[in-house]
């Protein structure tokens, strides 16, 4: 029995003739915190949606904890893996507490109501994301930072072993960016939560992730610890920009900064 949380086997997917994912194989071990990076249109979001089963591959297979995803029932799968979408739009004024509780959906039958366990898990999730004080507010009136923490709380309330995120911090200021990643890191270290997060922020990814996967044009071009990916040579080659980079003084995490358009 291998200790793999996610296994992707030669995934391919396209809309009509335009192929977006061109043969991706990848294994994510239990307890890993993996960042998926890559230029716009490289297929990152589609890949994450395939891991959740929302997008069906045209070819290949997704396994969660060594079981084929399409053979796991939907409710069971939702007890195994949760996801935070790229952007959440609320059309109706649910209360924050109500919304987070709805993360318990896969555990509740038709007539069941919330029990002690549900209540405890929801409360823990709201504590961890510092959203308890927002409980009575309407989700439609939250700021960007509040909204993202609330959505994360509802995903944590699902109490899963795996968490998939699609650019969880792209619209947040640096304070909230750090806050979200700190929460994720804590969950990863303390509870062994396996995380795969798409991110555009190379430096945030290199600071928090154990491993980065670089996706270009629907293929994995590099995969390894942050210092093997977030370095001027690799980033220059795949993102087509001139970059400077180095090692951060305190955290020792690598960083890169774009300095201009790529010179030939």
């Amino acid at each position: 029995m291998r200790n793999e949380a996610v296994t992707l086997k030669d995934l391919r997917f396209g809309y009509g003739k335009r192929e977006i994912i061109k043969g991706i194989s990848l294994s994510i071990g239990k307890g890993e915190f993996v960042g998926i990076i890559g230029p716009n249109g490289s297929g990152k979001s589609t890949l994450i949606k395939m891991m959740t089963g929302f997008v069906n591959p045209d070819h290949g297979e997704v396994l969660l904890c060594d079981k084929p995803l399409h053979k796991i029932g939907r409710r069971k799968a939702a007890r195994l893996a949760a996801a935070v979408p790229q952007e959440m739009v609320f059309h109706f004024p649910y209360k924050v507490g109500e919304f987070v509780k709805m993360g318990r959906h896969p555990y509740q039958g038709l007539t069941e109501t919330e029990n002690e366990t549900d209540r405890r898990i929801v409360k823990d999730a709201m504590k961890a994301t510092n959203t308890l004080s927002l409980k009575g507010r309407s989700v439609a009136q939250l700021s960007g930072g509040e909204k993202q923490r609330v959505v994360l709380a509802s995903a944590l309330a699902q109490d899963t072993q795996l968490l998939f995120l699609d650019e969880p911090t792209s619209s947040l200021d640096i304070h909230y960016q750090i806050e979200i990643y700190e929460i994720l890191k804590k969950m990863n270290e303390e509870k062994g939560l396996t995380i795969a997060a798409v991110t555009h922020d190379l430096n945030l990814g290199s600071l928090y992730c154990d491993r980065l996967v670089l996706l270009v044009g629907g293929k994995i071009v590099a995969d390894g610890p942050p210092d093997r990916i977030v370095n001027p040579a690799t980033i220059r080659e795949h993102f087509n920009v001139e970059v400077e980079g180095g090692i951060r003084a305190i955290t020792k995490a690598p960083y890169v900064v774009a300095t201009g358009r790529k010179k030939l």
């Binding site: 069906n56 939907r74 949760a82 059309h91 109706f92 649910y94 109500e98 959906h105 409360k123 308890l132």
Partner: protein
């Protein structure tokens, strides 16, 4: 922090809440059910009417109450309830607070069926349905099927496509209605117009009982899917990740909401705005959670339409205002007020 935690503890279970939320609307419905039959252009004595319950034809009071008003109130309840529930469902399904049961062409399909039946002067009945309701029901079902076939993609019903398909089909049927109307003679034309205005003046329990199985089936299915509707209103990706079988739930909700709409439209015509106003008001009062919203809308819709119909048949007595015209006159300003309130929110988007 401390206070926040205490607040949290104060929330009790959902179900308890749900009953408390629904109860006032049930009470409202009961009140209309008790008081409205007594009101009308002919004043009757309820005591007298009930004393003759054994043989209704013996007394005028009993005859008015049991043969005219009660069936009408029954139809108003079923129609108002169905339209309000379907409205709430379509709003969640289309993730659009301004959607209603007619947005996706169910009513134009029904209207086309009815108009064709009137124009052709057909006299066919099936399973006890008379011609116009039968054709109306078939027309509505046709529209639902067409929209479904056009919109579904990889098993799911994407919101944007569903909306586009529904509106296109709706326009097409409206054009057909105009065409049939153009070909109609004076009597037919009046009949068509009267049908399109919506009314509850169908006499007799028999017809009403025939739509009851469809109505009950649809409403029960939707109540079962209430929790899924909450999740679907957050988008199909979120719903999927939280364990909802999106394709299945969308299908069931779309078909069930269409079914109850089609069944009541076939008898009472397209009565507008109930499906918009009622779910909106109820959501405003008790919040958007569908487990409370659907039953509360059901009661509120039934009570609201009974009230409207009572006004429609008494205010200009002995002339009746078609109830569809009345709901539209109430609903129009309501809709404008709603837009006005939401306007600011949209001004700085895009």
């Amino acid at each position: 922090m401390r206070r926040a935690e205490r607040n949290y503890e104060m929330t009790t279970e959902w179900t308890k809440h749900d009953w408390f939320k629904v109860a006032p609307f049930a009470l409202f419905f009961l009140l209309t059910l008790i008081f409205c039959p007594a009101i009308g252009s002919v004043s009757i004595s309820l005591k007298e009417a009930f004393s003759q319950i054994g043989d209704v034809s013996k007394s005028l009071d009993a005859s008015v109450l049991f043969r005219t008003r009660l069936p009408r109130i029954l139809l108003a309840s079923l129609t108002g309830a169905a339209l309000a529930v379907a409205g709430a469902v379509f709003q969640a399904l289309l993730r659009n607070p301004l959607a209603d049961p007619f947005t996706l062409g169910v009513s134009s399909g029904g209207a086309m069926g009815a108009v064709i039946a009137i124009k052709l002067g057909l006299d066919i009945s099936l399973l006890g349905f008379s011609t116009v309701p039968l054709f109306s029901f078939l027309g509505a079902a046709g529209a639902v099927a067409l929209v479904y076939i056009l919109a579904h993609s990889r098993g799911r019903l994407p919101t944007a496509i569903l909306l586009l398909a529904g509106v296109s089909i709706s326009f097409f049927f409206s054009a057909m209605i105009l065409f049939a109307h153009y070909l109609a003679d004076f009597t037919e034309s009046h009949q068509m117009l009267r049908w399109l205005m919506g009314g509850l003046d169908i006499i007799g329990y028999k017809t009403i009982i025939k739509i009851l199985p469809f109505w009950v089936l649809g409403v029960v299915l939707l109540f079962i899917k209430a929790r899924d509707l909450d999740q679907l209103s957050f988008g199909s990706y979120v719903a999927w990740c939280r364990g909802v079988d999106v394709a299945r739930s969308q299908k069931i909700c779309y078909l069930a909401a269409s079914l109850i709409t089609a069944s009541v439209v076939s008898l009472s015509g397209p009565i507008g705005f109930v499906g918009l106003i009622v779910p909106h008001s109820v959501r405003f009062l008790i919040g958007p959670s569908h487990r409370a919203l659907l039953p509360a809308s059901m009661f509120a819709g039934a009570g609201f339409l009974i009230l409207c119909d009572t006004v429609a048949r008494t205010v200009l007595a002995p002339t009746e205002i078609p109830v569809g015209v009345l709901t539209a006159m109430v609903g129009g300003p309501f809709f404008v007020a709603l837009l006005f309130r939401e306007k600011k929110k949209y001004a700085f988007e895009e």
